[in-house]
């Protein structure tokens, strides 16, 4: 092996090493989204009662999502002043609230076809692009934003036709907090209680 070959080989090796984790992360993110989507589809088409579905969605959030990270983005500035206990209580309440709020509309998603299209690198991890086709409407784009949590991929935001779940819920939760004069504990209790 001459010098040039050696350099070329080590160069390629270094490149493969550099590209390796990124490609692996993309593949992991894609697997996560595929698994989550399969779980969601199975639940929606199972014919279960709404209440049973809400439980399924909570489990899906827990298993595939980084609820704490999403909760922080949803809460925004007040998060900094919250105790760790409040943060965990809020993250848990958010999970319940989101499962019910979006779970309530599950009928619209019955028979939906969800296809993973591709992935791209973003600042905080990987964005998995999916195409969702509901009955009787043109397919639309849903992005799953996935980040790495201790070596495990977890989704932390969903973006539908440009509308981010976290950004939108931040506006909503902000309004709810204003209506409760900034009382985080009251907000947490109400998020859990809202049917």
């Amino acid at each position: 092996m001459d010098r040039r070959q050696f350099i070329a080989l080590t160069g390629a090796g270094a490149l493969a090493f550099a590209a390796g984790p990124v490609a692996a992360q993309a593949a992991q993110a894609e697997q996560l989204v595929t698994a989550a989507v399969n779980d969601i589809t199975r639940s929606i088409n199972s014919g279960k009662s709404a209440a049973a579905l809400y439980n399924d969605f909570e489990t899906i959030f827990e298993r595939y999502g980084d609820v704490g990270y999403s909760a922080q983005g949803v809460m925004g500035r007040p998060w900094r002043e919250m105790s760790n206990q409040q943060r965990r209580a809020f993250a848990d309440a958010l999970k319940v609230y989101l499962s019910r709020k979006y779970g309530r509309r599950f009928r619209e998603f019955q028979g939906a076809e969800i296809n993973v299209m591709n992935t791209r690198e973003i600042r905080r991890g990987t964005e998995v692009v999916t195409s969702v086709k509901l009955r009787g409407s043109a397919p639309f784009e849903v992005l799953f934003r996935v980040r790495d949590v201790n070596g495990q991929p977890r989704f932390y935001d969903l973006v539908i036709e440009g509308i981010s779940l976290v950004v939108t819920e931040r506006a909503e939760i902000g309004a709810k907090l204003d209506a409760r004069r900034g009382d985080v504990d009251a907000l947490i209790a109400d998020l859990r209680a809202a049917a």
Partner: protein
């Protein structure tokens, strides 16, 4: 001379378009007219409750779906020459050709636009308007505005909406006695949309804590998405102010 022209442009921009200002932080929305906007919003909510919701329900229940689809196709076809004109103004020859062919196919094979055979030939609808043209020309979205009847908008797109409303080239070619047809088709199309998306719209008005804020954040995000590349704006980043680990600071372990 050039400097003067620039000054005039800046004044024009600030005064007429009013759309050269940008928000301070990427998470906040730019809404200096919130007080007025909220009044308009209350009016719109009232209008929806009193008129739109019941009328659209009646329309949806009484008129069968195939007929509603026909009305919607017809309204879209009437608008297509306007899309084409804006495509040209944007320098988008591909879309202009696409919309030209679409109009041709649907006006003839689609019996005056009642049917939409063009979509099955790969000529799906590609909507655009003067708001997008202004965007392509470099106008920023400006402040958020809620328009009466038309709903959420911004300074740039409000101008777009007005221009769209009066600039359908088709109006120039039809008889004055038929002038009522395009706006009527559009209103009926809107009623059909209100019926088809009733659950979504009702839940926005009824379930959100503050429907003004919800409508605003939904509109801004979706409009930027429609324009591509986030409409030239910095992306909202709800995580910018935080660390990687949401519980790090207070973790007991």
């Amino acid at each position: 001379m050039t400097l003067r022209l620039t000054k005039v442009l800046i004044v024009l921009c600030a005064g007429v378009l009013g759309a050269c200002t940008t928000p301070d932080t990427p998470v906040e929305v730019f809404d200096p007219y919130e007080k007025t906007n909220r009044k308009v919003h209350n009016f719109n909510v009232g209008l929806d409750r009193a008129l739109l919701r019941p009328t659209s329900t009646a329309y949806g229940v009484v008129v069968p779906r195939p007929v509603r689809t026909g009305v919607s196709n017809f309204a879209n076809n009437i608008d297509t020459p306007r899309f084409m004109l804006n495509d040209l103004a944007q320098g988008n020859i591909v879309d202009a050709g696409h919309n030209f062919m679409r109009f041709l196919v649907n006006t003839t094979l689609g019996v005056g636009g009642i049917f939409d055979p063009a979509t099955s030939f790969g000529l799906e609808t590609r909507r655009t308007g003067f708001g997008e043209t202004l965007h392509v020309w470099g106008t920023e979205e400006g402040a958020y505005i809620e328009l009466p009847v038309f709903g959420p908008s911004n300074e740039r797109d409000a101008i777009g909406t007005v221009v769209d409303f009066i600039s359908n080239p088709l109006s120039a070619t039809i008889d004055a006695s038929d002038d009522w047809i395009p706006p009527t088709a559009n209103v009926m199309d809107r009623l059909g949309d209100r019926y088809d998306f009733a659950d979504t719209i009702d839940s926005l008005f009824d379930d959100s804590e503050d429907s003004y804020i919800s409508a605003r954040i939904l509109y801004i995000q979706n409009r930027r998405f429609e324009l591509g590349g986030n409409g030239g704006n910095a992306e909202f980043d709800p995580f910018a102010e935080f660390d990687d680990d949401p519980f790090a600071e207070f973790d007991e372990e």
